[in-house]
């Protein structure tokens, strides 16, 4: 799980069965103490692997949306909730859930946000995220070892990495590169292995912004059997060429075929594109 605090933006991302939505009201109050008022809110998530283990309201997206709406000021009057379900997937097991609320229809956010969810991780790759029995080292040095062993330090060579290894397994890292953040969370246990990669970047900033290359390097670390990518364009106008380039590069470099592509518009967040990939047979 990760928390990022910018001067006018907070991003908090938690796995497990945490009560994330309880943070909305206290964070709005703390912001008011430093003379800031809420302008926009976005809540998103994939489909839980263990939905029945989630506490209320996370057992149903409708309940989550109700809890978020009750926590927001009325000034955020442009609101939308959507469950983006791939057509080739009759149940919701691969759906992407998004709720946005905003004081303005247009987004004030310049970064494009990419949220990648990966399951069925390659077992050899996942092994990098288990603590070794003989390992006396604390979680910081074990985390650094996992970062190096897995190749995560090669995703963005400019980033300063703050990593942590959990016991007996599991890993989290935050990357810091100028005003760009990135974060990775890994549950390596076989049978329900999972990894996520997220970053905020610009489409036009000389190489660092090439989403396709960044995605290739991050997905290649885990060689997953199933990948979903949610790209939120925010104030950056939607660029269909980027979508097609991601699909071309993932196919060519990782043998991943795009099985579905959904798009939707959200107030205060612009266009969201949701793509799912599996290895070409």
């Amino acid at each position: 799980s990760s928390l990022f605090v910018y001067p006018t933006k907070i991003i908090i991302k938690t796995c497990g069965t945490t009560q994330l939505l309880k943070s909305i009201r206290p964070l709005i109050n703390l912001a008011r103490d430093v003379n800031l008022a809420l302008r926009a809110c976005r809540y998103s998530r994939g489909s839980f692997i263990f939905p029945d283990s989630q506490p209320f309201p996370y057992t149903s997206f409708e309940d989550e949306v109700s809890v978020v709406e009750e926590s927001l000021p009325k000034s955020l009057r442009h609101r939308k909730a959507s469950v983006m379900t791939p057509c080739n997937n009759n149940n919701n097991s691969r759906a992407w859930h998004v709720f946005t609320a905003s004081a303005d229809v247009d987004s004030d956010e310049s970064l494009v946000v990419v949220e990648v969810c990966m399951t069925e991780l390659d077992r050899v790759s996942a092994r990098s995220f288990f603590r070794r029995d003989d390992e006396e080292r604390n979680s910081d040095s074990a985390g650094r070892e996992m970062t190096r062993l897995s190749g995560i330090d090669g995703i963005n060579a400019n980033a300063f990495i703050c990593d942590f290894a959990f016991d007996p397994c599991g890993y989290s890292m935050n990357g810091v590169d100028g005003d760009r953040y990135s974060t990775i969370h890994v549950t390596p246990e076989d049978g329900f292995s999972y990894a996520s990669f997220e970053c905020g970047l610009s489409l036009h900033d000389g190489g660092r912004g090439d989403i396709a290359e960044v995605l290739t390097r991050s997905i290649d670390v885990f060689r997953p059997g199933c990948v979903s990518i949610a790209t939120t364009y925010n104030g950056e106008g939607y660029d269909h060429e980027v979508t097609k380039r991601v699909e071309r590069v993932l196919s060519k470099k990782l043998g991943l075929k795009c099985r579905s592509r959904l798009m939707d518009e959200f107030p205060g967040s612009g266009t969201v594109v949701y793509q799912s990939f599996t290895p070409r047979r």
Partner: protein, 70 residues
């Protein structure tokens, strides 16, 4: 639920703010640090309500980044 209590797919919340000139709180009026002025104890209290704790942290000129554990 996984033996280690891990549920992979995360919940993600993003909140964006703007300077509210109606408040006469001159101390922080338009302070460029904005939300980064919030003291760690207050953030930690919010994280406790969410059932998370900070296990690692780093910052640069642009933002503060915390690794959390449930």
């Amino acid at each position: 639920m996984a033996v280690s209590g891990f549920e992979g797919f995360e919940k993600r919340l993003e909140l964006r703010f703007f300077h509210d000139d109606h408040n006469d709180n001159s101390i922080t009026n338009n302070n460029p640090m904005g939300l980064r002025l919030i003291d760690f104890e207050s953030l930690d209290q919010v994280l406790t309500e969410v059932q998370c704790t900070v296990v690692s942290a780093v910052a640069n000129r642009s933002f503060d980044a915390y690794v959390l554990s449930e």
